[in-house]
Symmetry: C2
């Protein structure tokens, strides 16, 4: 039986959003404006890629889905906070996100900074909550690794490298280095965390690690390609933004067709790394293939 | 033998700063500008009150100091990030902190936002690192409580309430509510975490909880009083800043002499709550008394 990826994604997205809705304070709770800003950004759509990777990583090694829910939510909170802070005037200064005003446009800068801080803090609250069937020593280790992937040696460091690189010519290795940190670290740790929560052995965890690394890069290359060629109505933001800003992108550094080839190569690598896993890893396989054909 | 508080504080401060220096990435590590901004703010002095409370809380119940070091560092990272973000132009817009340019003045706004994000993330990396002699289930619980004290229902929520209260007349209960969240939650959790890491029983933990609550308020009232009356050269920032901003303060709402009485009352309450503890709690007792006579 072939997997229907779209209904799989919709179903998993529903699970993640129901859990977020349950875990995150209601918008009516005090301080109301802060909780409104948090929910505006967190419940405002998005692909939920990272939490779905946590769930799919857990399932791929035969683990029960429920175990991975809190960490899945933690990953989405960290991703959302990073978008809110990156959109700030002092950073990328974006007015639109997913077709709606960015958090600081809808509320104000102070509320956006605090909403981001709150989401980052909340992520660790969720990740450290006791989960039935998960060994607490393992869980502490996963919290440490999550912090490392999100911090100076991961996502935050990558955003800094990205800002430092603006306005000057980057080499391909420099661009790659930015993406490995800025987006790659969190995608990779989503996959690894899922596998470890699911009780995967060392080989399986290693497979998910390689898979996460490869799809992280494939995803970023396709993001750059979509920024050049995508339909603004579908993407919810203007096309060609990175080029206008004179930002280094894969298509700019290697041309559109070479960039597409590179993305396909990374997807092959991701599929290869899963070769030792059973059918339970089929959603991960379908997800990797889907990266090449997505439109936003 | 009477306790020499000043040498106790100097010694504990030395311990905390040595541990921070060891745990936090060197300023020369990539991305250099980010690590420089982090260390500029984190290693730039300060009283180290919160980490010292973690250590003193641990000692007060007879626990080994070393156990409490990582959490002590985590508390200081969270405190430092909150200062960096609060100083931003969109928040309190401060140029000076501890007699030096604030982080966004010394670097830039983007670096300051990211340095804060990195410090908050790092706090959870440190708090979740395995500690010999500490039960991992207890440690997970302490990580959750740390996140709750730092987040929407604690410090971040308090900063939002503070911003929302600017420019309008606050009642005393409203002012109290802001401080209980903005500064109180972190001070309280520092004391409680120390006691729990040190193996304190339910009574001792409850005592430290009450103590932390009371000194948190005493500390804030004295902060407001010092802002009115303090010597700018000693404080490292201008005096009367809160009044100029038309911010609600204790002296403004109840008069200087009544505010002093209230602070003394809170210190009495703090001392009372420790009545069941041994001499090992003497540093906490001396610290509480010191709040009333400090000059910055």
């Amino acid at each position: 039986m072939e997997l229907d990826l779209q209904s799989y994604l919709a179903q998993r997205k529903g699970l993640v959003e129901a859990a977020l809705d349950r875990l995150v304070p209601a918008a009516t709770r005090s301080p109301r404006r802060l909780n409104e800003a948090i929910r505006y950004s967190l419940m405002g759509g998005g692909k939920r890629l990272r939490p779905i990777l946590v769930l799919a990583g857990c399932e791929a090694v035969g683990g029960a889905l429920e175990r991975a829910i809190p960490f899945a939510c933690a990953l989405e909170c960290i991703h959302t906070y990073s978008l809110i802070h990156d959109d700030l005037p002092a950073m990328d200064d974006d007015d639109l996100r997913r077709g709606r005003p960015t958090c600081h446009k809808q509320f104000d800068e102070a509320a956006a900074i605090l909403a981001g801080d709150a989401l980052l803090t909340m992520a660790f609250e969720f990740a450290a909550q006791p989960v039935e069937g998960v060994n607490p020593t393992l869980q502490l280790e996963l919290v440490v690794q999550l912090a490392q992937a999100a911090g100076v040696s991961g996502m935050v460091g990558g955003q800094m490298l990205d800002l430092l690189g603006e306005g000057r010519e980057l080499t391909l290795p420099e661009l790659q280095n930015i993406h490995i940190h800025k987006t790659g670290a969190l995608i990779r740790i989503s996959c690894v965390t899922g596998a470890r929560l699911g009780g995967g052995d060392a080989n399986a965890v290693q497979a998910l690690n390689r898979y996460g690394e490869a799809i992280g890069l494939a995803f970023q290359i396709m993001d750059d390609i979509l920024d050049e060629t995508g339909d603004p109505a579908v993407m919810g933001k203007a096309a060609g933004v990175d080029r206008q800003r004179d930002k280094a992108t894969y298509p700019k550094l290697m041309g559109l067709s070479q960039a597409s080839k590179e993305a396909a190569l990374m997807v092959d690598k991701a599929l290869e790394s899963l070769s030792g896993l059973s059918q339970a890893a089929d959603p991960l396989r379908a997800l990797a293939r889907f990266i090449l054909v997505r439109s936003h």
